[in-house]
Symmetry: C2
Subunit: 515 residues, 2 copies
């Protein structure tokens, strides 16, 4: 069958199940109750502290076929996933599903666990490094489920991603299971992605290297949801948290795109008192923030909140009074961690509060503008951030689709060429974020506005900005780099791309050996 | 049938349902899943702010027979319950169940709503003033359900108290439904009792008189659970929050009891580094805290946490470094409110975290010592805090049974005579807190230790404290005041006293006209 954006998807995918096809960004209202774990009882005097991960496996009785979940706040510095899975392997457990909110190069040992049958399923929002490459080579028999950050929280809260045991890497914990991310030698800041796991898993284990006297304060995840506390030598390496660059780009093309993106925001009329903004790490995004900041400074604008993965750049804007608040689901550097630990206006939120489409209203719904990237974008404005042009998985939505759906103004910034190939296609290889949620594409050769936003196109043109048709931009790129040859794909589905509402927006098929 | 403490209870109570008899403080493990409300979807741009309570009634479509819930953090200064119920009455709605965590004299208008049929059921943890008196006269056809603070949270989380609409009096809110209790003209401090309502009600309404720009920070109850925000002229009178006296008693008998209670704590060996303590407001409790504080000061002890309804006295101990933290489910005075708003070591917790028996571990489980009062106590150490000796309802458990069950050392302080009647009975009129959870009764004429704590009796006697048999204390009191005549009760059950685990520990029968 074809979903509403014309992607061909089976109605049943082995290893995933029946498919609800994507039908539009807000066209699939929920028809379910919240996940309802079994209610527990705890008697005074019961001890939660156990001496080793192995003991936790035995106390819970972790068995073949269970789903173990993990958060990724340590990013490439994570030290918990590998420790836990080594224990699983040692104990001869097989057939586990791993629900890890993002996968980084540090998680390379997953490959061996997949080969040996310890792991047979993977559920994540972002896949990079050796594991992504191995998955792309077809190492798993069942497709990876790729979700958005809000979609993962939604799937957990709605019981579609049912977690048997959540292992929560805890920078600080007390012996009764209170957890925060802001204290201890491995502080990571916000624990946003772990909240849904703690709330809805059948069993919850805090894994910490920094055990403090009861009661820990402040508390991010409460003792009432944590069954066991395990102290290990280390939960991770804080240096691995830093994401990409945290400096504004010096590349003149990148700066030009960023300046244009900032001009689009200004021309849109959104840049006024109470402005809210999301941008990621990375040179071009930060450069846009840099120009937006200059505009805010000049006009004396105090923004409402900055959102998303938080960097020192946003922290500085908070501290200079350019934003009233930071709303933080994930910290990207040490400045973000320092700020959330000390500034009451820097608010920790769960992935649910950040971006789940299925509750009484998430924060992305209140966003004015967001700057996003793209691996590919097509003339319908559908964006691919899952696969490279070679068909290999190199990312995932993360919060991409969530912020795009929520913000009043969603801007994709991209160089016309990426790795010497045009970034604009007739059809992206893997649709991740639907075009209906993208308002503007900003390139170094002009701005393409989504036809459904003809109001905005008129405003931008009136402001003297270089608005061009996206087909023209595509032609310019193809004149320089030629039209890329489509890669050959097999029938085997290696990943299912779930939209934030649980419908399937696309699948990733394994590429065939290319000629 | 008789429950495990010998109280005679029908196995089915009309208006309540089938009875699970009390079987011991930790003898009734849960066999249920968490309450699972229907999942919602909210699209960007949806507006939550509505102009009046009447509009909220229409938008939700509040209809006959629904359960509306409220919290009692404004205590006798509450301004929301009466406003909401006046709207219900005006709209001709009937047959409502009101789940109000505690009822105060200010809630007198409930009587007229009961008489007119707007309200036909009441669910609460504490009943005082005119409503308590009217209930005692049999004004309601169905029995009031009396719960503990932890038990109410448990009943909501387990789906036994199903809430259609939670009205949350919000000292501060933004237009997207984020709420806290620490800002605005009517700040009440902790919003602990409202958390379960917000999490599990089908519809949630924030009622505020202080609307701030989005995003409110800090956030106690999140936008993701709040459907509507209504601004009203006032949500209450902060002066009504203050509970009883907040000064140490000057009554010499009260001081003697308090000093003895403090000596019991010291002799027990619990008064050391990391000591944790709960005591309520009121002269005798505060006097005990006063003596405990002197001991801590003298011995250089830093306590772990003070718990419960919080007063300025505890705040001062926090600020002087005598406790590392305050854990606060409810503020009792303006100092408590100031402290929770400004001191990161003063932690807000939900009633669930405070005291629910059915989760991975509540805070009362970590209590060393608690000082509690009693209207009556019997020779099996069962305590009555629900009815006066005249059979009229004048209180309720609140956190009484919860703290008693959790603490390592539970001390009841009481004058031997209360309103000229002996406080020790053969059997209390209404069993609220089971004797198995009471360790010591301290009176001005000696200390009675529960026989199940013979270890403690020996330690206290060895410390030179006046340990006597509870039967002796009873005889002393009866020698002074005579043995009270039992009051005559009818068969009509006006209240069901639910223990924290949902079993029935006792019922309150309406008294007959006395001769």
């Amino acid at each position: 069958m074809l979903n509403s954006i014309g992607r061909e998807i089976p109605d049943f995918i082995p290893g995933y199940g029946p498919v609800k096809p994507f039908a539009g960004a807000f066209s699939f209202p929920p028809d379910c109750q919240r996940q309802a774990p079994k209610v527990k009882m705890t008697v005074p005097g019961e001890i939660k502290l156990v001496t080793s991960l192995e003991e936790v496996f035995k106390k819970i009785a972790i068995t073949d076929g269970m789903t173990l979940s993990f958060h990724h706040h340590f990013r490439n510095g994570d030290g918990v996933v590998n420790q836990v899975l080594a224990v699983a392997a040692k104990l001869g457990i097989r057939n586990l599903k791993i629900a890890l909110s993002s996968v980084f190069p540090v998680h390379e040992p997953l490959i061996d666990h997949i080969k040996s049958g310890v792991i047979t399923a993977l559920d994540t929002n972002y896949l990079s490094g050796p594991v992504a490459q191995a998955i792309s080579q077809g190492i798993l028999d069942t497709p990876v489920v790729l979700r958005t950050h809000g979609g993962r929280a939604r799937a957990i809260e709605c019981g579609q991603l049912k977690i048997d045991v959540a292992f929560i890497a805890a920078p600080a914990a007390d012996d009764y299971g209170n957890i925060n991310g802001i204290q201890g030698p491995t502080a990571c800041g916000s624990l946003g992605y772990a909240f849904a796991d703690a709330e809805y898993a059948d069993h919850v284990v805090a894994v910490t290297d920094y055990l403090v006297e009861y009661p820990l304060s402040p508390v991010s995840i409460s003792q009432t949801r944590v069954d066991y506390v395990v102290k290990v030598a280390t939960v991770g390496d804080p240096k691995g948290i830093v994401s990409g660059t945290t400096r504004v780009t010096k590349d003149p093309v990148g700066l030009k795109i960023a300046a244009t993106a900032a001009n689009v925001i200004q021309a849109s009329g959104l840049l006024k008192q109470g402005f809210s903004f999301q941008t990621g790490a990375g040179g071009a995004s930060l450069a846009t923030a840099h120009f937006v900041r200059q505009m805010m400074d000049k006009a004396g604008i105090t923004g409402s909140f900055a959102l998303g993965g938080i960097t020192g750049f946003m922290v500085e804007m908070l501290e200079k009074g350019l934003f009233k608040n930071i709303i933080d689901v994930q910290g990207f550097d040490s400045e973000a961690i320092r700020s959330i630990a000390t500034n009451p206006n820097h608010i920790e939120v769960s992935a649910n509060v950040y971006a789940s489409p299925f509750n009484a209203g998430c924060v992305v719904n209140k966003l004015d503008a967001v700057i996003l990237g793209a691996t590919e974008i097509d003339t319908d404005f559908h964006v691919n951030v899952v696969t490279g042009s070679d068909g290999v998985i190199m990312g995932g939505s993360g919060g991409h689709s969530d912020a795009a759906a929520g913000a009043k103004l969603t801007i994709v910034v991209a160089n016309l060429l990426r790795s010497r190939l045009p970034v604009i296609m007739d059809a992206v290889l893997t649709a991740t974020t639907p075009g209906e949620t993208i308002d503007v594409l900003v390139t170094e050769r002009g701005i393409a506005v989504n036809p459904k936003r003809s109001d905005l196109a008129a405003i931008l043109a009136a402001a003297g900005l270089p608005v061009v048709n996206i087909h023209e931009l595509k032609q310019i790129a193809e004149k320089i780099a030629g039209k890329p040859q489509p890669i050959k794909l097999s029938e085997k589905i290696i990943a299912v791309v779930e939209y934030r509402d649980g419908t399937i927006i696309d699948v990733v098929r394994q590429r065939m050996a290319q000629e």
